[in-house]
């Protein structure tokens, strides 16, 4: 349970005692199952004493009498200044609940006004309102912090992923221009070809990054029309055939044709392309890729199986997160942006779907994407 500290500042001992009695064992339930909040109470009979108490232990809520001996409540508010906007809510207690008092207090950052005399119930109502406000503020701050942290981590990894190809290309160029290194013409061509490859990878990363940003921002224009998923899949397979053939990998497509769905053609292409090209990339030489697409009672299922390096359950668990490429001896020679599967998952979610993987280390993996909202046009199904 969270505990908030309330500081009661009033020169009337009777009022302090009454308030303390009203708030003893008082608890507030936060909205939406946010748990309970309890209170500890603190007292001061003047602004000066309150300042001393605050220096010792910071309250989150202050009940501040408007008229105090010595420094007045309003002046004390002035003195607290900026602190009020931080983690401190001030409720002004006043016997003169005039408009001027209210305006003066609000101007100085008071949260609310409580007119004397008040009933215990009125006091508890006011404290309840303030406590919920304090807790909501805390929650918002925590969320903002978490968001900043995630963003920072993303940028950090992104910078690393962009620098890595630059470093490789720089290295090759340094060798090419070095007067001390003699390499054959063939080697030189190989180095240039490899540099071009790394540049292509970098371009892919930037493209993926833009895709991801567009999907996340909801800015991407979606065009939901009748699309033949079989044709999209055939194209994806044709795209990878050169790389597959070079490594003796066979690629099979099992899909009823035509398989008409209502979707954005570009999004479908990104999903199928990603799955099929991964299945080739992470395969063994001479392996096979089986892409099977079918309509199920739930929607449309795209399953792509490979005979590749596979992964452990722990590795599979973090696969769909950004930049979570599994790095080990088996993947070290394979280039990838680290964003592909994250994009696949986000796109699947646009169709109320999901992406999953089953894998056996050393034997292969099957990636499955289920798209739920792809009823064919005119089928009268879900919108």
């Amino acid at each position: 349970m969270d505990v908030l500290r309330i500081l009661i500042v009033d020169d009337e001992p009777g009022l302090r005692m009454g308030a303390a009695r009203a708030l003893r064992d008082f608890q507030v339930s936060l909205p939406d199952g946010g748990g309970e909040v309890g209170f500890v109470l603190d007292e001061a009979d003047s602004a000066e004493a309150a300042a001393a108490r605050m220096a010792a232990e910071r309250p989150q809520i202050m009940l501040l009498d408007h008229r105090l001996p010595g420094m007045s409540g309003t002046d004390f508010l002035d003195k607290l200044g900026l602190e009020i906007n931080g983690d401190l809510l001030v409720i002004m207690i006043t016997a003169y609940a005039s408009l001027e008092t209210a305006v003066a207090a609000a101007k100085r950052g008071a949260y609310d006004l409580l007119a004397k005399p008040f009933t215990p119930e009125e006091l508890r109502g006011m404290v309840r309102k303030a406590a919920i406000r304090v807790m909501l503020q805390r929650q918002a701050r925590k969320l903002a912090e978490e968001k900043r942290r995630v963003r920072f981590e993303f940028v950090r990894v992104l910078a690393h992923e962009l620098k890595s190809p630059l470093g490789a290309i720089e290295g090759y160029l340094n060798i090419c221009v070095s007067p001390e290194v003699r390499v054959s013409e063939e080697k030189r061509r190989e180095m240039i070809a490899r540099s071009i490859e790394r540049l292509a990878g970098m371009r892919q990363l930037i493209t993926d990054l833009l895709d991801l940003t567009r999907i996340e921002s909801g800015e991407k224009k979606r065009e939901l029309v009748a699309v033949d998923l079989a044709a999209v899949a055939r194209e994806a397979v044709e795209n990878v055939l050169p790389q597959a053939a070079a490594r003796g990998i066979t690629v099979n497509l099992d899909c009823p044709a035509p398989l008409e769905v209502r979707a954005d053609r570009g999004e479908l292409a990104i999903i199928v392309n990603n799955l099929v090209s991964n299945a080739v990339k992470y395969n063994r030489d001479g392996g096979r890729v089986d892409a099977r697409i079918r309509r199920t009672p739930e929607g449309v299922e795209i399953a792509v199986a490979d005979t590749g390096i596979g992964m452990t359950a722990e590795e599979a668990g973090r696969l769909f997160k950004e930049f979570s490429r599994i790095r080990n001896a088996r993947t070290s020679g394979i280039d990838g942006s680290g964003l592909g599967l994250s994009i696949v998952r986000k796109l699947a979610e646009l169709y109320r779907g999901e992406a999953s993987v089953r894998s056996v280390p050393g034997e292969g993996s099957t990636f499955t994407v289920l798209l739920r909202e792809v009823s064919p046009p005119g089928a009268g199904g879900k919108p």
């Binding site: 690393h160 470093g167 290295g171 390499v183 790095r327």
Partner: protein
């Protein structure tokens, strides 16, 4: 004198390729490995005259660990560590004090990207220091 044998270990295949090319061109025999495990296997069957290792491989400190292993097996083999620490943090990373040199077992730490001339100079210096190379000109070219 036969060619000096250099062990090159990095999990980035481009770096392995580049370092190998440079050292090969410098007249050395290169044995390369893509990770700590592969390097440890290689170390069982030959004794390198020098080793060039990446600092951060599978783990942040893989290079240190492997370096330690090399020194345990072959105390006289000089080790050069390659790091991207400077590029990543702006801090340079040198075994400055005697104390640091004590726990960082490497003879030399170089920041990536390493220029070919610099790498050749450092390897040569280590080999001359350990008596594997009597005179810099006689590298077999």
């Amino acid at each position: 004198m036969s060619k000096a044998k250099i062990l090159v270990v990095d999990d980035d295949p481009d770096v392995v390729e580049q370092v190998s090319l440079v050292l090969d061109s410098g007249g050395y025999e290169v044995v390369s490995a893509g990770g700590v495990e592969e390097a440890e296997q290689a170390l069982l069957s030959f004794r390198p005259d020098a080793a060039v290792l990446d600092l951060m491989m599978e783990q942040q400190d893989s290079g240190f660990v492997l370096c330690h292993e090399i020194k345990r097996l072959y105390p006289d083999t000089p080790v050069i560590l390659l790091t991207s620490v400077k590029a990543a943090t702006g801090m340079s990373f040198e075994p400055a004090s005697a104390e640091q040199a004590g726990w960082v077992k490497a003879e030399k730490i170089l920041d990536k990207p390493v220029r070919p001339e610099q790498l050749l100079r450092e390897v040569e210096a280590q080999l001359v220091r350990t008596g594997k190379l009597s005179h810099p000109a006689g590298k077999g070219h």
